[in-house]
Amino acid sequence: MDLIKRFRKGDRLALARAITLVENGMQEGRDLLDAVHPQTGKARRIGITGPPGAGKSTLVDGLIQSYRKAGQSVGVVAVDPTSPFTGGALLGDRIRMQSRWADRRVFVRSMATRGSWGGLAAAAADVIELLDAFGKDVVIAETVGVGQSEFDVVDAVHTTIVVIVPESGDSIQVMKAGLMEIADIFVVNKADREGAGDMETGLGAMLDMRDREEDWRPPVLQTVATSGEGMPTLIDALAQHREYLAKESRIEEWERKAVRARIVSLVHEELRAGFWKQGRQARLEQLVGEVLARERTPGDAAQALFSPA
């Protein structure tokens, strides 16, 4: 197939189109993913997540610049939420990632989370796979830490950076948001603002209190993404985490875990898509009415969906 050939030759239009096909769940996209699978597994994969406006995209821009200076090619997928009301989305992450716009070895793609029936996990992980297969040395995925999407890409990346800002409240809130579990590196961005030190100390204390046995204690770093302050330290921390993974066959473990998660999520996807196809959405609406009329319980309704209408 022509697209695959062009993809293999490094044609960025082919990469762009491949992502579109995969994103839209087209069979052509699946075929392409299968075809390039042997070429995957080489990229350094980094996830970056945190609350809206924390400075994730600005940090990604800094990462792009640093890795490019080190001669590495970079691929980015930036995910923003789809409006649940209209199905549309405004994707603005690119704006902050344009300092290397003229650089052909940087590829940035914006993606919307799309409907809740879709499942971001599969699509975003697929795009990461494509960027990897395309030969990007470093692949970065930005997601907003508000819904579930941030947990979805965690499995597909080697290292997850959690970005917070002094205004994010106290460290307890960060813990409650479940970000403690997924962070390999904590970044307190906007360190030019008041409260960054407190945030850093609070998080550090919280991390030290964890009773989990672990040999990687997530470092907490301060950055000013807009000026590049703290960037070298972040790059160092990323390198250290990489080294840590390389030791004691951790990377193999990680890969097993990642592949397992991918298979599972594809299965879920398939099940979900298959399940809702057979007129069940309409049946669902009907059942909602019955539950509201107190004729059924929600559990009852769920069971009813499994049995043929």
Binding site: G53, L90, G92, I95, R96, S227
Partner: protein
């Protein structure tokens, strides 16, 4: 102004009167162009809190609600100041002479986008933009041409320039020197309001920190050397054009003004030394009474804050003087002649609100740059208001109107609420970084657009009274492509002819001033005098200060 017994009586009477009226609410919704609810009938009830002496007073006296000056238009008419600029400096110079001959009393310069953004005409980013929506200025040479035959000690010149304002002011001073006019006698205004650029107009170059420093350098320099110059024209015009409501325009503009005052005080200046040279610039939109109330509220708020919060004492520091431009965003491309009428109503509201100077838009501005005929009609509109309508004979003629006074007070309260909100976000710059203003403005713009599309708001010729097969019969002004080519050629010659050693030295001196804390104005002047170009000067600052990027707030 009424005792509570009387108010109670009126209130009872109003209820009885209302009871017998048929219900008209279906004809609504009744709201201002800003979406604020509008009273059907106002009575003394609506102004029950008003205290004449405290809230209104007399023209030229605290709190200046009724006017900036005691004599107002009997003492001095407003300045009719049509904004113009296009093509080369020579083209605009001709337009200046044309306007002065037609009776205009002040000059107002529009610059092209490369000049506004700090690029020389031969820069790659300037491609296709040179002389397009204003005059192209690269160096002192162009500035000399722009003011050829215009004695700078006898006109007042307003320059719509922000990020590079210091440089254009330096060029103006240098032209004055060549004409033998000392800087102390120069009169005019630079817009120099960078905060509203970040909020609304988006013609920024540097980040807020260094931008504010340039501004305080200008404040300090002008206080000493150009005492008659208006150093900042604190502008709501562009905030409104970007889609804000009248209240947002009022609140955000004044918040910006207070931020400059605070910056000046923080830089060690005495508030009464620089505040008298701050002026304001508002939009005149179509909602007649809301606009008049806006100007009156602005004067009162400014006076109160300046006195009570910043401890200003001079009357000149407390009185808010302002320029007005009719709303470009209210004009329609459809049936453009109708814009003459819109502009006339808007201009009238500015005069009834006590403006010090006024620009009336030309009918064809949504189509292209204004033609001479359109500009003349726009100017004539002002002259008709001044000489034929009689509205300028009595100061603040609408004072005491229940509606107008209640609108004025409501706008003041709304603005105070916004100030508290901005304060809670950490001040204007912190709120900017959080996207507060930008989001407020774009949401208001979107709401307005949706209202038009749903016909909740009627715009004549656009969504009602449409003329389907409209044939535009208006002569448009076109900018010749060779303006760009000629300008680039001239610039090339200049770069070869001037003393490049001196240019290099003056730029290096500027660099060290920028890197340190010395006032940069004298260095800008040196650069201007030896024909360093605007782009060269700005490049030095870009390297020292960095550049600001679009923060994408919706």
């Amino acid at each position: 102004m009424f005792d509570s017994e009387e108010i109670k009586r009126i209130s009872g009477q109003k209820k009885r009167w209302q009871k017998d009226l048929p219900d008209c609410s279906a004809a609504g919704p009744f709201e201002t162009v800003s979406g604020a609810p509008v009273e059907f009938l106002c009575t003394p009830e609506d102004v029950r809190e008003l205290d004449y002496t405290r809230d209104l007073g007399f023209p030229g006296m605290y709190p200046y609600t009724r006017g900036a000056y005691g004599t107002m238009y009997r003492g001095r008419q407003w300045t009719m100041r049509q904004f113009s600029g296009f093509g080369s400096a020579a083209d605009t110079n001709r337009r200046f002479h044309f306007l002065l001959e037609k009776g205009q009393t002040g000059l107002s310069t529009a610059f092209d986008m490369p000049t506004i953004m700090g690029f020389d005409s031969d820069h790659a980013r300037s491609l296709g933009e040179v002389g397009k929506c204003g005059v192209a200025i690269d160096s002192l040479e162009d500035m000399e041409t722009l003011f050829r035959g215009i004695p700078l000690d006898r006109v007042s010149t307003s320059m719509t320039i922000n990020a590079p304002a210091a440089i254009l002011l330096a060029l103006y001073i240098a032209v004055g020197e060549k004409q033998g006019v000392p800087s102390a006698r120069l009169q005019g205004t630079i817009q120099n309001d960078i905060l509203k650029e970040y909020m609304a107009q988006k013609s920024w170059i540097f980040p807020p920190g260094p931008s504010m420093r340039i501004i305080t350098d200008i404040l300090a320099f002008c206080t000493e050397h150009v005492p008659k110059w208006n150093t900042i024209s604190i502008s709501g015009y562009h905030i409104r054009e970007a889609g804000s409501t009248a209240l947002q325009e009022l609140a955000f503009t004044l918040a910006d003004g207070f931020a400059y005052v605070e910056a000046g005080i923080a830089a060690g200046l005495d508030v009464d030394d620089f505040a008298p040279r701050l002026s304001h610039f508002f939009n005149a939109h179509l909602d007649f009474f809301e606009e008049i109330a806006k100007y009156r509220a602005a004067r009162r708020i400014w006076a109160r804050h300046m006195k009570e919060k910043y401890g200003a004492k001079k009357p000149e520091s407390l009185r808010l003087r302002f320029h007005t431009q009719t709303a470009g965003c209210s004009l329609t491309a459809q049936q453009p002649e109708n814009n003459i009428v819109r502009t006339a109503f808007e201009a009238l509201s500015a005069v009834l609100g006590g403006t010090q100077s006024l620009h009336t838009n030309s009918m064809d501005e949504t189509l292209a740059l204004p033609s001479e005929k359109a500009v003349t009609i726009a100017l004539r509109t002002q002259q008709i208001i001044a000489s034929e309508t009689g509205v300028a004979n009595t100061v603040d003629p609408l004072a005491g109107s229940y509606l107008l006074e209640s609108l004025t007070s409501r706008l003041e309260q709304g603005a105070e609420e916004y100030f508290r909100k901005i304060e809670s976000l950490g001040g204007v710059i912190a709120a900017l970084e959080k996207g507060f203003f930008q989001t407020e403005i774009s949401r208001a713009a979107y709401r307005y657009q949706l209202a038009i599309e749903k016909k909740a708001r009627i715009v004549v010729g656009v969504n009602e009274y449409v003329q389907p097969d409209e044939n535009l019969d208006i002569d448009l002004l076109e900018i010749d492509r060779c303006v760009e080519e000629d300008q680039v050629k001239r610039l090339k010659v200049l770069r070869e002819r001037r003393d490049n050693g001196a240019v290099g030295q003056s730029l290096e001196a500027l660099r060290s001033a920028a890197g340190g804390s010395d006032n940069m104005m004298p260095r800008f002047l040196d650069c201007a005098r030896c024909y360093a170009t605007e782009g060269e000067i700005i490049d030095v600052l870009r390297e020292e200060f960095g550049e600001y990027k679009d923060p994408k707030f919706f």
